[in-house]
Amino acid sequence: MNRAAAVALGMLGAALPIAAAVALGMEVQVVSVRAAERGSSDAELQPVRARLRRLVGYRSFRVVHEERRQCSWRNTEEFAIPGGRSLRVMPKGMQDEAVVMQVRLLDGRRRLVDTDVRLRNRGTMLLGVGHRAGRADGALIIMLKAEAQ
């Protein structure tokens, strides 16, 4: 194999995963969790329970809705959130191993949160809705995970 062919193959090898990632887009997982002062927690949340406890102050965490969806770049995907809310996610691209995306949490047509984030690939960020940690009426925790293929 001559040198030019080797270089071409190398470039192809490097370009293929990028092309695949661009074509495939990314997978977004949205998990809605009800946080309460009392009660048990779901087993699937046990690995993150301590982290949630430190962040939001509640003791009980239960999954109320979960959705995983393939998203294409620069297209907005809307995820339903319990309580009549929705989460709109628009992945914009990759930057230094992080997924750049716009995230909007809506209550009907009202924007509760409008943010631009860079979420590390396979990383998780949270959105919380509630009045105050430790209150009897509880809180809604939205776990947002993004994974680019």
């Binding site: 962040l55 631009d116 998780t124 949270l126």
Partner: protein
């Protein structure tokens, strides 16, 4: 106490500078001696008129500009002392500044620019596995991070709503 003693002590008596027993002795003598009494009264009247004149002159003085001028002068002195202190501490400060500048350069290389600008901008540098918030807009929001894992949460102060289950 004689008239000669009173004449010698009259000025000090008028100024109330004598010891109490001597003041009393002069007063007792003046009470029984019209000449000494007249002499002491004249001195006291003179002292009173001088005091009134001094008070009038003092009241007429405009001191409003004095304290601002004093304060300004004190600030200049403080500034000079501060610069001289800085100059003395220059070798240590220079080393510290170089270290800070080097750290800042390394840090800036790791910080990426915001994707978009918006009305409210919060930029947080996180631990390796979590989120950078480049722009954040909304009402009654709080941004929290859990330092151990670097997890970021955007908290909305609103009713959680009916979550079912």
């Amino acid at each position: 106490m004689t008239c000669a003693d009173v004449e010698r002590l009259a000025d000090a008596f008028a100024d109330a500078e004598l010891p109490a027993p001597t003041m009393l002795a002069v007063a007792r003598h003046a009470a029984g001696c019209s000449t000494c009494d007249e002499s002491v009264r004249r001195l006291q009247a003179l002292q009173e008129s001088v005091a009134q004149a001094v008070r009038a002159e003092t009241d007429a003085l405009d001191l409003s500009g004095v304290w601002p001028a004093v304060a300004a002068a004190a600030d200049r002195v403080d500034a000079r002392r501060s610069w001289s202190r800085r100059a003395r501490a220059l070798p240590a400060a220079l080393a510290g500044a170089l270290a800070v500048a080097a750290a800042a350069v390394f840090w800036m290389q790791g910080v990426r620019p915001a994707v978009e600008s918006g009305p409210a901008v919060v930029v947080s540098r996180t631990l390796p596995n979590q989120a950078y918030i480049d722009r954040l807009a909304g009402k009654d929001l709080r941004l929290r991070r859990e330092p151990r894992s670097g997890t970021t949460i955007i908290w909305v102060n609103a009713t959680a709503g009916d979550l079912g289950r």
